[in-house]
Amino acid sequence: MKEYRYMPEVKRVFQCTVPGENIRQVFLVDGVLQESPGTQNGITLSTGPEGRGLKTHITGDHSENPLQIISVRSENLPEPLEFTNTWELAPGAKAQIVVCDHTLKEHLYQTSRYSHITLREGAHLDLLFMQNEHGRSRYWLDLDARLYKDARLDSHILSLYGGTIENKVKAHLQEPGAVCNLDGLYLADGEQEIKYNIEVRHNSKECQSSQLFKGILDNSAKAWFEGLIYVAPGAQSTEAFQANHNLLLTRDAKITTMPQLEIYADDVKCSHGATIGRLDEMGLFYIRSRGVPLEQAHLLQQMAFVHDVLEHVRNHAIRVRLEKMVESRLRGEFSKCAHCTMHCC
């Protein structure tokens, strides 16, 4: 069996055994870092103002050694919480970061997380957010990323469960050669509400960006997607793409999608597309005609729908785990990760 790093006081209440080699786990409880600040293998962790929030500075290549930030809300602090995490990757640094947000109890938690990301020249960051709280929590993420020359950000936001989830992402492509890929998946049922507000700002020439956001809404869930691609004057040779696709499982589920382009340069390749649809009747019949029951056919079609978003997650072990979680989520199993001693949501 593989050993994982835990702080003893956290271990008693929370365990998360994300499979995979070489994962380093860092715990934040109510925004407070659970280990001593310091530098280890080029990764410097420190805390923000008033001891809340995490500041991370990374040098060197850590692309094969994911850093997992497990951020939990405990019963000690039921009040609304706000904190800021900052991530800075030094020139040429490479990192894979998984942020898991959980709630330990069914309090009416309200959490605002600001994330400031700076990617210096040639830095690569693969960032994954797992938003898995409970049906009455309020979750707010405000992510602001600055990419310098030849930097690359691959961001995946998976909104699996939460009462209200708001994700605001702003990426600034500041120097030529920056590449920014933003993906998102949102699954909502009951009365849940999920908002995505995405803004990709091409402030420099010769940058590329793509966005792929997909959602499945059941019962009377509601979601909003606002996505803007901004191309500044002089940002020539820009390539920017955006796609937002939605599956509505009921008549009461509702999606509002607002793709927007603002282009002030003339040598650009940009596109955006949004779709809203239902499960495909003919496809369901085809699947059932091979002996697969209706419920399972529904699930297969939904898994097929989200497939390309999950496929973009490069870490194999994490992707396999995510596929299982998404599947159990779509089965309506409350998205409890089977690997936790405490239920995550």
Partner: protein, 255 residues
């Protein structure tokens, strides 16, 4: 099923409508184990509707008649239960499902069937071995099964994939709806060989086709001509030749 000599499938006076328009107007058909039937007929005669109704497509309404399959009232069952009883429909237009690989699709289908038979699910190794075996039956490129079901397949590849799925599921009664349409001679041979390899004394095939050409490869025991929702003539395989040489009008006018 005490009567072993009985019919596997017995369709009696089947009437089917869609949006108040009658498409099948009293079809009678009996199929026994070990038989190969061919159903021919002009466009719009109801061939595809017959196959779809038997597989359980719910856009059609059965207004009269009965269908008994293996002693069971087939029309009372949802499509998946019909499939688990060994009924298979080879689609005229196989459906594309982006994001669902053939491997995962077939794994779900085969394991559902095994569950129904009280067998444990196949291990990954066993499953892959079975896939490889069945792909060989239709000379299918192994790379296809890792791709989305039918996505980006040519017409011929789609039909080949239908026969592959049939081989995986080993049905007792298969309806092949114009599996030959859009196929070149080589693909036709592969598809027909697939059927012939799967044929046993215990299963049966009903091949729906426009052309006698397919019947050179899959030799039918009985040929039926369907017109305006009714089978107007049944006969030996020579009937297919007669259709080919003289056309449907000749047969329709003679009856």
């Amino acid at each position: 099923m005490g009567k072993t000599q009985g019919n596997m499938l017995e369709i009696n006076n089947l009437h089917v409508s869609i949006q108040d328009r009658e498409i099948l107007s009293g079809v009678n058909l009996q199929v026994r184990a070990g038989e190969v039937h061919a159903i021919m007929g002009p466009n719009g005669s109801g061939k595809s509707t017959l196959a779809a109704v038997l597989a359980g497509r719910d856009i059609f309404t059965v207004t009269k008649g009965t269908v008994v399959y293996k002693g069971v009232d087939l029309l009372a069952l949802p499509p998946e239960e019909r499939a688990r009883l060994g009924l298979f429909l080879g689609f005229q237009y196989p459906v594309e499902i982006p994001g669902l690989t053939s491997v995962n699709f077939m794994k779900a289908a085969v394991n559902e069937q095994r569950k129904y038979k009280n067998l444990p699910p196949l291990s990954s190794g066993e499953f892959l071995k079975l896939m490889r075996q069945k792909m060989a039956v239709v000379e299918m490129d192994p790379s296809f099964v890792g791709r989305g079901v039918n996505v980006g397949f040519s017409g011929g590849e789609k039909k080949r994939n239908e026969i592959f799925q049939m081989a995986m599921l080993e049905p007792t009664l298969a309806f092949l709806d114009e599996t030959d349409s859009g196929l070149d001679v080589d693909a036709l041979r592969v598809v027909a060989n697939g059927v012939n390899k799967l044929k046993t004394k215990d299963n049966a095939f009903v091949v729906i086709t426009h052309y006698q050409r397919l019947l050179d490869y899959i030799v039918p025991d009985i040929v039926h001509v369907l017109n305006k929702g009714r089978i107007i003539k049944s006969g030996s395989k020579e009937l297919a030749l007669e259709v080919e040489n003289k056309g449907y009008d000749h047969i329709i006018n003679a009856t």
